[in-house]
Symmetry: C2
Subunit: 329 residues, 2 copies
C-alpha cells in the first residue's frame, strides 16, 4: 500500500497508533510540567511546491506564515503564551543565503509580534526547500481540545473565512478580470494580506478566561481552521461525539466577499485562514461574540451522528469537504 493510495486521513489514523496521546488526535500535544503548567508542542512541515511557492510568498512572508501556522496550532490547544520554536531547514546547495536570511527574518518578525524566540534548529541540503518547525507554548487557564464539546454548545468562529484562499487565487492569477472586477480593491488587499501574513489567534485565547461567566467551569472545545472551516467543525463534532449544524446565513465572510461565485465554497473549505473554531456554553459564547470583534456564532453542536455537518433547519448533510489538503496525491 502506497501513501498516495492510503490518503492523509488514513495515514494519520495509522500513525496515531504509535502516539495515542499525541498531536495526531488534536492540533498539538499537551505535556504537564512539574509545576502543573501545561506545555504545548506542535510540529509542522512546509514543503515547496506543496505548501508554498515563490510565486505567492517572498522569503519574509514564508517565514512569517510558517511561524503563524505553528502558533495557530498552539492557540488551538489553549496556549496563551509562546515559548519559541525550532527550525529544521532543508534547501539545495544552490539556494541563496538571502533567501534563508529572509525566511529567518520573517520567522523572527512573527515571534517579535506574537511572543517567543527562535530556539535553534538544524539545516541540511536536500532536493527541495522545506521548513520543519516545532513550536512550544504554554496553556493559559485551561486546554482547548477537539473532544470537549457538548450538545447545546455554540459554535463560534473568530473571524472571516475564505480570504486566504482568495489571496492565493489573486497571487496565482486564478481569477479572470470578470471575476476580479466586482471585488473592491480593499478586499483584494485584505485577502492577499490574509494569505501572506496570517495572524494566529492567541489574542482570543487570552480573552477567553476574562469572558467566562462565573457559573461555567473551564470547558472549551476547538481547533484552528487551517484545513478549512467545515472540516474544523466536523473534527470538533466527531471528537465530541456530536453532530453540528451550521447557520448558512451566518457564514463568516468579509464584506463583499459574497460577490465571488465561489464565496461559500471558499468560506467553508478554502483553508489556511488560521482562525479558531470553538464550541462552548452559549452564555460564554455570547460573551465572546459581544467582546471580540469578528467573533460570531456560526452554529451549534447537537446530539446525533458524530461528525455530521448539516445546515440548520435542514437534515441534509453538507457535501464532505474532504479531509482538508491531501498532501500525498
Amino acid at each position: 500500500m502506497r501513501l498516495q493510495e492510503l490518503g492523509e486521513w488514513e495515514l494519520l489514523q495509522r500513525l496515531s497508533t504509535f502516539a495515542p496521546a499525541g498531536q495526531w488526535d488534536d492540533d498539538a500535544a499537551l505535556l504537564t510540567e512539574q509545576s502543573g503548567r501545561t506545555l504545548v508542542v506542535n510540529t509542522d512541515v512546509l514543503v515547496e511546491g506543496v505548501h508554498f511557492s515563490d510565486t505567492t510568498l517572498c522569503p519574509q512572508d514564508l517565514g512569517w506564515r510558517a511561524a503563524a501556522a505553528n502558533l495557530s496550532d498552539l492557540a488551538a490547544m489553549g496556549s496563551t503564551s509562546v515559548v519559541g520554536l525550532t527550525v529544521g531547514l532543508v534547501a539545495p546547495g544552490e539556494t541563496s543565503w538571502s533567501w534563508v536570511e529572509g525566511v529567518y527574518q520573517g520567522l523572527s518578525e512573527a515571534l517579535g509580534h506574537f511572543g517567543g524566540c527562535l530556539l535553534g534548529g538544524d539545516c541540511s541540503s536536500g532536493a527541495q526547500r522545506l521548513l520543519a518547525i516545532t513550536a512550544l507554548g504554554h496553556v493559559g487557564d485551561g486546554p482547548i481540545r477537539r473532544g470537549d464539546g457538548r450538545p447545546g454548545d455554540w459554535l463560534v468562529c473568530t473571524g472571516p473565512h475564505g480570504l486566504s484562499r482568495l489571496g492565493l487565487a489573486l497571487l496565482q492569477g486564478e481569477l479572470d478580470p470578470q471575476q476580479r472586477e466586482p471585488l473592491p480593491a480593499e478586499l483584494q488587499a485584505e485577502a492577499v494580506r490574509a494569505h501572506q501574513r496570517p495572524r494566529p489567534r492567541l489574542d482570543v485565547v487570552q480573552q477567553l478566561s476574562a469572558l467566562r461567566p462565573a457559573p461555567c467551569p473551564w470547558r472549551v472545545a476547538g481547533t484552528d481552521s487551517s484545513d478549512g472551516l467545515q472540516l474544523a467543525a466536523a473534527n470538533i463534532a466527531r471528537a465530541s461525539g456530536c453532530r453540528v449544524e451550521l447557520e448558512r446565513q451566518a457564514l463568516p465572510m468579509a464584506p463583499q466577499f459574497n460577490r465571488l461565485a465561489s464565496a461559500e465554497h471558499w468560506c467553508l473549505s478554502g483553508g489556511e485562514d488560521f482562525e479558531l473554531i470553538l464550541a462552548l456554553e452559549p452564555s460564554w459564547g455570547e460573551a465572546l461574540c459581544a467582546a471580540m470583534p469578528g467573533c460570531t456564532r456560526i452554529g451549534c453542536l447537537l446530539e446525533g451522528e458524530a461528525g455530521k455537518v448539516s445546515w440548520a433547519g435542514s437534515d441534509q448533510m453538507l457535501e464532505a469537504s474532504g479531509a482538508g489538503y491531501c498532501h500525498f496525491q
Copy 2:
C-alpha cells in the same frame, strides 16, 4: 552568496545571530521551567541521500538511529530523562506504508529503550524522504555546555570511536577483501551495530552526579561526537577559551580496530559515534573512568589558543578535521 559557497560552519554562525541563546551555539537549547527544571529541546533533520540510504539502513534502523541521534544531543546537554519527540515526515506519494511503519517502529523501539514517547508530528509529500525530529528532555543535576571547560580539566570520552564509520564502510562495500581480512568478525558485527543501532549515552549523564567528588561543584563541559571526536574536542576547547591536547596513545578504539589503515583518521573524524566528550575536574574524570566501562581519559584542556587541538608532547596542531559533515556541498 549560495549556501554551498558559504559552508555549513559559516551558515550556522549566520543563523545563530537570529537565536543568540539557542541550539546553534551548543548541542540543543535549554529552557527553564517555572518549577526550576530545565527543558532541553533539539531539532535534527535527516535527509535521504545525505544522512541515510536504503543500502545501509532498513526502515526500523533508520527510525532507531534518528531517535538515538536526537537523544544523544539531549544527553550532550546534561539530560537524564527523555520527555519524547515529534516527527515531521516527508516522503513521495509512491512510498510504501510499510516503510513508514518500519520507521515508526524503530522510533518507538528506541523510545521504549531510552525513555519518552512519541508526541505526534506532521507528514507531507515531497520529492525526497526525510525526517525532521524534535526531541524534548529534562536536565538532571546540571547542564552540560560546551563552554564550561577550564584549563586543567580532563577530557574524557565515553566509548570507542570510528566504529560507526567502519560499519558504514562495510555496509557500503567500501573495503576490499584485503582491508577486511584482518578485522575479526566480531569487530565487523560491532561496527555495523554501532552504525545501525547507536546508543545515546544518557546512562553516563545519569551516573555523573553520583560520581561527583564532594568538593567539586557541578561544572561539566561537553558535547556529543556525532560530528567526530576531534571536532567535538575542538568545539569544547573553542567555546571554553582553551586549547586541547589529545593523547595519541589513548585514542579510544575498539580492540583490533587499529588493524585498519584508516584507524586513526576514522577514530578522530569518522563521526556519528554518538558518544560523549566531556571536560571536567581531574578527580571527577578519574571517578567516571573508574566506574563506567569504556570511559577513558583522552587528553586535557590547557591555557592557550582557543580551539587548538594538538597531540600531547607536541606543539603541532592536528590537521583540521573540517567542520564535520558539510551538508551543502
